[in-house]
Assembly symmetry: C2
Homo-oligomer: 400 residues x 2
């Protein structure tokens, strides 16, 4: 036995996704990649904005000796200053105090940021609340620090159910993770949604005698449709923490660059930041990649061409609705989370696979009875997939 | 209380280094940076080889869509193939089986690699052996996974003391970490040293009924003096794992790129690799940064201009020896680990600080009675520091 019991159990739980992944490879080998509609992976296929390439080339031609060396574990101070300025113009403009570099840590993507922050606040046996359906990696992120997730289901429109949340928060809950625009639903939480959540967290923090953090994971913030607005969590709750990344907003998921920003309104946040920076160091990140940090100031106002995702999404929403699928219209992201026509989402995924359509069952997001489609393929191919969705639906109905 | 008990204890233990860091800032503000001899930080100041810049620019001008997107969590297959080819020509040339991409994971530096590998093998309560003096971050890396370090002291030449190691290995020891060329001593373990260690580990693995891994952390592999050779651990022990990074060898410590290679001779290493790749994903690394992975094939044969470090080292070794310091001559790295003239290394560090010389006490490496000098400053400044070393030594002798 070479591996730990701990990781062994993780691998066993991850086997559903692995089997799907293997199935996908098999199908593509049998039928050709072009014949298979792979809606299973969330790997952005829209190109980064031109500003990205320009910024990397400019930085590489800047011959300062220290460009590629170590810097403070929280990241370059001047880069954090630029991020702070951007946040003070946007998400933090209505706060009582401005964000400064001391509230920011540059991180190895959002995943690195969440892990560093969680390590800073979690002791063994603590809880992290997540709102289902949710990105299942959060389970691992909590368990990395010997904590457990505590799942509250959202309502039928995938919005926070405040009664259920209040009911499930407990004296070991140290944080609630929200993700808006949401993977897998594409739903955006409104200011009212966040205000309501903030009030519940405030009351429960008071009841339990220590603050519950609201961690807002926002890698899809700029991928929104029809001018939709993503409100700032900072305006709804004091103990808020923004985790952002450039993976999807500017399509550089492989470059592992993001940041964590704690609300400047959190009292005495120095200790918290010191702990999170230490965690960022000792988890093995050490720091975010230097060159990508240097590029961040040039990406703050940038995004991919969102209209590409929006056109694909509109094609699929219209077609699936007309065929008879029940769905909540996404306001952003590149995900769609329709209801499975039969309660057994795993069985329905098989019907889709028969039509060479690959999707992820809702069970993989702790919401059985649904399935996730990721539209990381061109619009012509999206349009070609519709026929298969119709056939699968007919077969599903014939089973009921 | 905003932070975890766990991280709070880490911060308290880390306070020695922090106080030194604050002291350094204070001294530089008072006397000017040029007047202070900062031998405390190991941040390489020698420029990366020209091949690095060229490779980054070439890669950025390659417009393949997927260059900056997600890739397999172990890293790009073609990059791993190139690393495997390089290892098969060098460290693995005498093995019974060749290294392939399936034995490699591209990682967020060596720190990311060690953490991913440790997570794959450690359960709570397990032990990781380290040989003192050692890089103290290893303590955190073990504790991240609820394990503990188990310290064996090296002999007076900083070589492995096999009796002490055999004595201290126990049935919870899952790995031994070695670091050659060594931080903080600059010592290189010979083939005989490694063969001896391999025999002990083989016997103890047999005794305890499961393999003890030998993790060889080699970020200074190419920074060697006078043509010194760093032997391959793979040739001395089957259950060997190489962790490498480009941080020091090519001076890109901020870019966070390295790799883990398990010995191709480990039987059934598929599960082990699957676990380590999963760990790399769920710890929040997800993958090593994409662009830096792409650059790796162009760095395999490269190194910084080591003669720069060697000249500085020779100046300091000669001067300190002449003055009367007792030291083991480093064969590589940019560190020197002289004996403190008085047993209390913390007291001696204060005497050095009075001469505006900053150094790290041996206690910070679990070897009291010594101190570490990092020669990341130009040779003229190194030469200018000698006077201060002489004064501090005189004061120390007057105290005895």
């Amino acid at each position: 036995m070479l591996i730990s019991e701990n990781v062994k159990s993780f691998i066993e739980r991850g086997s559903l996704v692995r089997r799907m992944f293997e199935e996908a490879i098999k199908l593509k080998a049998m039928h050709g990649a072009d014949a298979v509609f792979d809606f299973s992976l969330g790997n952005p296929d829209v190109r980064p904005p031109a500003a990205f390439k320009k910024a990397v080339l400019d930085m590489m031609n800047d011959d300062s000796t220290s460009l590629h060396g170590y810097m403070p574990n929280a990241g370059f101070v001047d880069v954090r200053e630029k991020v702070a300025q951007y946040l003070n113009k946007t998400l933090c403009k209505n706060l009582s105090k401005p964000v400064g570099p001391e509230h920011l840590i540059m991180t190895v993507g959002a995943a690195g940021g969440i892990n560093s922050f969680l390590k800073a606040i979690l002791d063994p046996g603590d809880n992290v609340m997540v709102l289902a359906p949710f990105f299942m990696e959060y389970v691992f992120y909590a368990e990395n620090h010997a904590a457990k997730v505590n799942i509250a289901q959202t309502d039928r429109n995938f919005k926070p159910d405040l009664d259920s949340i209040a009911d499930k928060l407990n004296d070991r809950t140290r944080a609630v993770i929200v993700n808006s625009p949401n993977n897998p639903t594409g739903v955006i939480y409104t200011k009212e949604d966040l205000d309501g959540l903030g009030k519940v967290l405030e009351a429960k923090s008071k009841q339990f005698g220590r603050p519950i953090f609201l961690i807002s994971d926002e890698p899809y913030r700029k991928i929104v449709f029809g001018g939709a607005v993503v409100p700032s969590v900072f305006e709804s709750y004091t103990y808020s923490v923004l985790v952002n990344s450039f993976s999807k907003d500017v399509s550089i998921a492989g470059e592992r660059i993001g940041y964590v920003c704690v609300s400047p309104e959190i009292p005495n946040s120095e200790d918290l930041m010191q702990a999170a920076i230490l965690a960022n160091r000792i988890l093995g990140f050490v720091s975010a990649p230097a060159l990508m940090q240097r590029v961040v100031p040039y990406l703050l106002e940038e995004s991919v061409d969102v209209s590409i995702y929006e056109r694909r999404m509109n094609i699929l929403i219209k077609a699936l609705s007309e065929i008879g699928y029940d769905l909540v219209k996404p306001q952003g992201t590149f995900y769609l989370f329709p209801k499975s026509p039969i309660p057994d989402d795993l069985a329905f995924i098989k019907l889709l696979t028969n039509e060479l359509i690959l999707a992820v069952p809702g069970s993989g997001f702790a919401r059985p009875g649904y399935f996730r489609l990721s539209i990381c393929m061109d619009e012509k191919k999206v349009a070609r997939s519709v026929d298969g969705f119709e056939k699968a639906l007919k077969k599903a109905k014939s089973l009921v």
